[in-house]
Symmetry: C2
Amino acid sequence: MSFNIERNGKKRVVIVGGGFGGLRLARGLKKSGFQVILIDRNNYHQFPPLIYQIATAGLNPSSISFPFRKIFEDREDYFFRMAELRAVYPADNMIQTSIGKIDYDYLVLACGTTTNFFGNKNIEEAAIPMKTVTEAMGLRNSLLSSYERSVTCSSEKERDELLNIVIVGGGPSGVEIAGAIAEMRRYVLPKDYPDMDVSRMHIHLIQGDARLLPGMNEKSSQQALEFLRKMNVEIRLNTFVTDYTDHEVVMNDGARIPSRNFIWVGGVIANPVTGLPEECFGRGKRILVDEYNRVKGQKNIFAIGDIAFMDADPSCPKGHPQMAQPAIQQGALLARNIRAWENGGEAVPFRYKDLGCMATIGKNKAVANIGGFVFGGFFAWLIWMGVHLMSILGVRNKLFVFLDWVWSYFTYDRSNRMILKARPSQEMNELEKRLQENHWGDIAPEERTQS
Amino acid sequence: MSFNIERNGKKRVVIVGGGFGGLRLARGLKKSGFQVILIDRNNYHQFPPLIYQIATAGLNPSSISFPFRKIFEDREDYFFRMAELRAVYPADNMIQTSIGKIDYDYLVLACGTTTNFFGNKNIEEAAIPMKTVTEAMGLRNSLLSSYERSVTCSSEKERDELLNIVIVGGGPSGVEIAGAIAEMRRYVLPKDYPDMDVSRMHIHLIQGDARLLPGMNEKSSQQALEFLRKMNVEIRLNTFVTDYTDHEVVMNDGARIPSRNFIWVGGVIANPVTGLPEECFGRGKRILVDEYNRVKGQKNIFAIGDIAFMDADPSCPKGHPQMAQPAIQQGALLARNIRAWENGGEAVPFRYKDLGCMATIGKNKAVANIGGFVFGGFFAWLIWMGVHLMSILGVRNKLFVFLDWVWSYFTYDRSNRMILKARPSQEMNELEKRLQENHWGDIAPEERTQS
């Protein structure tokens, strides 16, 4: 296999990862005279802020996903390749991927983060992550299967395990999924499962910090806590999950909760990148960059978004929050700077503009910190909806998300509660095996950390 | 595990399978005083006539699926259980399922058919079936992965294998999927894959019979053939596929077509039912029934839809076509007859009312046989759309299918071309293993044919 792309005399920017940052950068390079090559392990861009609504059957996976090839359709000398990064060879200006090697003039690492299980194997095996569309579909299937099974199982212990939902992590993802499951319990399950005793279903939210939403204003944390408590979510603060054994979640105070729906949104770690020197990596394996997003000690390698750690921005000396906004702003600026470097213009250092942050907790309720204002409730929820609708890629996706929201607002229903699995084909299995095995090039087996 | 359902002094109708027939029967028993229990291996009803549009990324899986629990929401003494039939014990008026045993007063087998590979293991392993939503999602993933891979693979032989699509079976499914893929090749792929030589992509449709759509009027067969040929689908009539080796489809005339997208819609066989005497089964393992859909030699066991074979209906002495209409009509009549038997009324023998049949071949084109009229083209296509929209369960699903159709009509786009897979959770894997292994009750291993 190979990339099969001729340079046609152009300089080449290779972008690894088509999330918010990578896509914004690609857009910024339109008509710049560069050849742009984007690689991603999926053939679609996804919209992380709404992934929890896939898990709770409120939205379709395809409503918040968008094919990369559609985005690149009308752009000259833009190429998409479905591939995974294996290693970077800075000395050769080249990367190794699952589909072969490719050289670059500029390399931009925008490959984001993955779920951090902090090295606990028991937790990693049992817990359900929720960072990707694929994982959210898995979580939906798991929740719906548990409800089905709770009706027919004969053991009371097992029934408790199936009906208890334990969510670890009190950031926006944890708060939003807790609220969405609580709403499902209130409006959907009693109608769907007249023979299930819904009062036996407990939703636990476990947070290591002293408050929920530690990235937001304290007032918002308090409000989120109150909203969730009113919805009968059982919240434990200052509590860490230390293990998972015998279908029980074990906490640092020795308490145990039996649960087979153990959702882990407890932290992220940068996707590993092989081939960069050790000194390029900081806390959480984030790649250290200067204020132009240039990787420490490198000339033409950059990192943007979650995976990058920049302490040179005076507005965020401890690094930027791992959210959409810094990624988008860095992608936009890097496109501008790359153009400037090529055309003899002046590069501009990155300064984060905080546009605020929000989290929603079920219907009619959200908390928001925007431009110095701290507010919550119905108005925050309306803004939350507007902002997210605007940010979703594509007119069709906006329309379908909007319709699904209107529908469930008035019917109190979740329309997508099907346990759906794609049948794996022979061919697909074969491809996946090859993807995993092949094309490590000359990387020694001990260095093969999959990115 | 167990069903956990009390009879409450009511007579019980157990329906196996929630397809067109099973659901229509359940609806017909509303307010009849019966307890109705539906079991199905999925938690949703699916709409087979549009499954091919999932495979070609035109529709969302959730647009043509509908949760059973939603349907049963407002019906008293209606129960849904996600389970698979293991065996019938006619002498005990009981069935064994994956979640335990349940007894019945009336048992209705509506568990349909599955893909028939005619015992060829090579074909079964390599071919992609398209009878369920799950299989169609698998086919979509396979097609999209092949396109991606065709761009980067280095072997010309492999590129041919990836780009050749071979469809076996010239009934409605085969004709419709061939037309839909041909449209994708024409409108979507050249834009999505500017670096793919689309002229190398061949779509082959292989039919054992002397004409396409043998269930329809000859004029329609001819018209379908012409429509498809105009779309550059390569059609072979009177040809059988005999094997699949070395990524090549082998035909009875010795010809071979290299292909890794080998779609099999070449025939169906009844889902196996264990526990009924041998003489209950006819051709294609269909269950022999009298004109009341009563299984041969049984008193209170019935079979409806595809799985049933009735030769007592003078309008169809060779049995009914395995389509939606006979299933729906049989379900409706059986509900009426069961009520009559209980209330001393007179049962009515089944007479099939042929409402016609249709197949669509891409945008603006369809063929139809309705009420003695044989027609094709744009008008047939409009009727095809209207009939299918009306038949889809649920207002939301109708709306979303309609919008997706309007969208792709005007944009010539297929919006759902994401390679989407649900991440399997530990819990799900465990459940599936249990489903497969457990609850065979006292059925000897050699009798364990999974239904």
